[in-house]
């Protein structure tokens, strides 16, 4: 293996190892949770219901099947005109 190739192989090995550690740290620190029933019409992050293209497609405000990312631990304390946020889908 040439010098250049060896250096490239080292660089890739190092980058993989570093990226694994960084990704694991970032995953552990993820501080969002999916909160159902709190998004405004068309503002959901995903899961608006069958037949939709998902994010941004909820049809009504606070639709129970649509969720939005909120800071971890805050979901169930969010109060909407239709009730509280839920970590599980709410039947509309």
């Amino acid at each position: 293996m040439s010098d250049k190739k060896l250096r490239a192989a080292f660089a890739i090995a190092g980058a993989f190892a570093a990226a694994c550690s960084l990704a694991e740290t970032a995953q552990a620190a993820k501080s969002e949770e999916k909160c159902f029933g709190v998004s405004l019409k068309g503002k959901n992050d995903c899961a608006a219901g069958p037949g939709t293209s998902c994010a941004g497609t909820s049809k009504t405000d606070y639709q129970g099947g649509a969720w939005k990312y909120v800071p971890k631990g805050t979901c169930t304390s969010i109060v909407t005109p239709k009730g509280k946020g839920s970590l599980e889908p709410i039947a509309d």
Partner: protein
Amino acid sequence: MTASVDFDQGAFVRALLDPELPTPNGLEARRGLQPERRFAVYRNNVCVGLVDALAERFPVCRQLVGDEFFRAMARCYVRDLLPRTPMLFDYGNDFADFVSSFEPAREVPYLADVAQLEYAVGQSYHAENAAPLSMDALRALPFDRLAGATAELHPSTHVVASQYPIVSIWRRHMSDDDAAQLELDHGEEALVVRPHLTINVTALPVGGSAFVRALERGEAFGQAVDAASGLTPEFDLTACLQALFLAEAFLAVNVSH
């Protein structure tokens, strides 16, 4: 409908798209209704249905230019290009190209790129399901032999590079955030992956889309790094891999023996 002998399908389609053309021959309406009127209703339904489909598929573009402008633009697109397949989720594959050449949309220079990102999001949503490599599996790879290894990416993986910050624009419009004014002076390279049930849209570091495209072509990691850093010398492999790991974009890594 039973087609009469002189029914001309080509003329029917042309008349469907152009209200100026006469009602096609060979149409009959029941109970004394006028075929012209019935055809006009049908023509309108076809157009509105396709415009609605585009409006659902490109929600951020719609917000960027407003509903009225979007629907007028979509009507022009529908008139130019009917669906090529019976699958409506494929409709709009060249909408971004259309937008980029649509004169009235020039004032929103990033609109076409955002359309491309939104189309990628839709394709990602409908892509085949597959279990991505876990962090543990990635950790267990023989790092020192990866330069010659190739990767299989998740089937829902798409990249869209733009000279505008399309990921920031997209995010802003998909959430309620009313953050400060967006700076348009930098580009972003979007990575779209749906490893499980949720679509991830993230920005890759510069050169990241070239790296991903090289991997998709079947090039080994070593070549893909060369491809990316050839285009952008500041390409950051570690940051790029980290983004790909977090998005769970890898399906398999094949190490040669």
